[in-house]
Amino acid sequence: MSLISIEDLHVHFISTGIDNQLITAKALNGVSFSLEAGQVMGIVGETGAGKSLTANSILGLLRPPAKIVKGRILFNGEDIRVYDHESSSVRGKLITLIPQSPKTSLDPTARIGDQLIRMQVEHGTANDSDAYARALNMLEQVQIPDPSRRMNAWPHELSGGMAQRVLIAASLINSPKLVIADEPTTGLDLTVQAEILDTLRKLVNANNMSSIIITHDLGIVAHYCDRMAVMFAGSVVEEGDVVSVFKKPLHPYTQSLIASTPKQIAKNGYKRITTGPPDLYNLGNGCSYKDRCNKAQPICETSPQLVSVDSGHKTLCHFPGQSTNA
């Protein structure tokens, strides 16, 4: 049984337009993937593809107008969609989040140590005296220099990289099963990024946790993830283990993504992408990528089915694996 398995998840943003008509943005359109214990999954895609929305759905953080209209999220075989938000014994304890902006995600009015202790006490994972020792130990594990002094530090005294380490400590302190990192290193320097990811990867492996890393940096996926899912317009268009996806990308969007990296441009020249992402308020029938795709055929007006090419390497395309020449 997978640790987490998302089945046909549909999330819509339903709001009222200027003419009082209900308008619907189809933000997630049948997202399915699963993750085993001990694995790290990378989710890539452009802005608006639904990466963060998928994470927020798992965490139960969706707020109106966003609404899950269809699908299930199974965690250890149990559907966690139905849990009451406030009394969740899963969120914050078994599934945790490393947020994107470290400087704004810590409580500015509490010392680092107090925040780490409060998290354990709130979730009932440690009593007051153990909590201090655990918090100190966690700061050590994420390689914060002089941890006993940092326990008394205020968030504004930390650099961006330090604050992100504290948040990693916070996300791991209750020994979760799944850690979701939403763009964990965006805005951090290259050297700091590599150290943070090394630390995260090491701790996830050491404790047999699973992790989902949301990013738009293919380099992070290539070196820190076991599996990857590529999202486009609210669908997972390709999923598989990292080595096979990079070696033989099946979906034309994945192919164009890999071709857009500076290294590939240097090798093969520029591949022109002419159209923007599709309008989620007005998604047509069929493949959502067809307007950008250079091998679109009449059959692409019908929705493609997920096809499995190698074991565990799947794509949502009528012509999987055919190379593009544009």
């Binding site: 220099p145 150290e195 293919l218 290539a222």
Partner: protein
């Protein structure tokens, strides 16, 4: 022999901080940029890359040192005289949302530099704005729109169009693609490449993305805490880095290819505070090659043996390079 279009000499910039503290943002940086060249400036945040861009474009004043444009000293040129040069030196900022007037339609944003720097009449300006939009591949309909109606990639195209409107000879780009998606980024880089090919524009690209710099520039300058630690041809520096900081930086880069095996070097500790820079080598506290004299002697840029091209010498500022036992990490 190329003639430098831009030359900065021993440029230093300090910012006042709380009390009597001074933040040393740029420390004694010298650099020549030849006509038609594309130079990359890389370094961590706080290394002074953006400050150098602002200093050259004269948006902030220097603390000491000199800036020359085509041999003319523009360091203390009064604003009235500087205005004539502004059409030649343009800058594109990192954040397109924050650098385009939200109350102007795009067409007006693009006609503003034409109004200031050219003698075109209103009909000619309108015509020129249309040509500019075509140049950066924006549909004509965007000219009537407002910034909030455009995507980040489109806005960055507007920024570029605005910067090239006055036909500058020198363009500074401060992290032009760091807020953009990968596929959008590729489009912007292609556009810049086309503009350079067509106009022979001289470019200073400020970035922390080594892959982008490798693709776009011929020469590279690596900054650490406001000082140049290494410079040379981009290919020399990236494939044969000499300074331990450059090596650390390159080893932290993640190529988008899982078959590349990473060789990770770790710089221990944090970048020192620019409020209180250490004596001697600035990288000393984090350097794996540290020896006692690094805490005393501030290393100067020295030429390395393998430079061929005289205009792009490979230089590094490291006390250890001269040691007989020195070897690349």
């Amino acid at each position: 022999m190329h003639k430098p279009l831009i030359e900065i000499c021993e440029l230093t910039k300090t910012f006042p901080s709380a009390g009597f503290d001074q933040v040393l943002a740029v420390d004694n940086v010298s650099l020549k940029i030849n006509t038609g060249e594309s130079v990359g400036l890389v370094g961590e945040s706080g290394s002074g890359k953006s400050t150098i861009g602002l200093l050259i474009s004269k948006l902030i004043s220097v603390s000491s040192g000199r800036i020359f444009f085509e041999g003319q000293d523009i360091t203390h040129l009064p604003e009235r005289k500087m205005r004539a040069l502004r059409s030649d030196i343009q800058i594109v900022f990192q954040d397109p949302w924050g650098s385009i007037n939200p109350r102007f339609p795009i067409g007006r944003t693009l006609s503003e530099p034409l109004l200031l720097h050219t003698v075109l009449n209103s009909a000619e300006r309108e015509q020129e704005v249309k040509i500019l939009a075509d140049r950066v591949q924006l549909p004509q309909s965007t000219l009537e729109r407002y910034p909030h109606e455009l995507s980040g990639g489109q806005l960055q195209r507007v920024s570029i169009a605005r910067a090239i409107a006055s036909k500058p000879r020198f363009l500074i780009m401060d992290e032009p693609t760091s807020s953009l998606d990968l596929s959008v980024r590729a489009g912007i880089l292609e556009l810049l490449n086309d503009i350079r090919r067509d106009t022979g524009l001289t470019l200073l690209l400020i970035s922390h993305d080594l892959d982008t710099v490798e693709l776009m520039t011929e020469r590279l300058v690596v900054l650490y805490l406001g000082r140049v630690v290494e410079q040379g041809r981009t290919s020399d520096v990236l494939s044969n880095p000499v300074h331990p900081y450059t090596q650390t930086l390159i080893s932290s880069n993640l190529p988008p290819d899982p078959s590349v095996i990473l060789k990770r070097l770790k710089a221990t500790g944090e970048i020192p505070s620019p409020l209180n820079v250490p004596k001697g080598c600035l990288f000393g506290s984090r350097c794996p090659l540290f020896k006692a004299d690094c805490a005393i002697n501030s290393p100067a840029l020295v030429e390395l043996g393998h430079s061929v091209d005289m205009s792009a010498k490979h230089l590094a500022a490291c006390n250890r390079v001269q040691d007989s036992s020195y070897k690349i990490l």
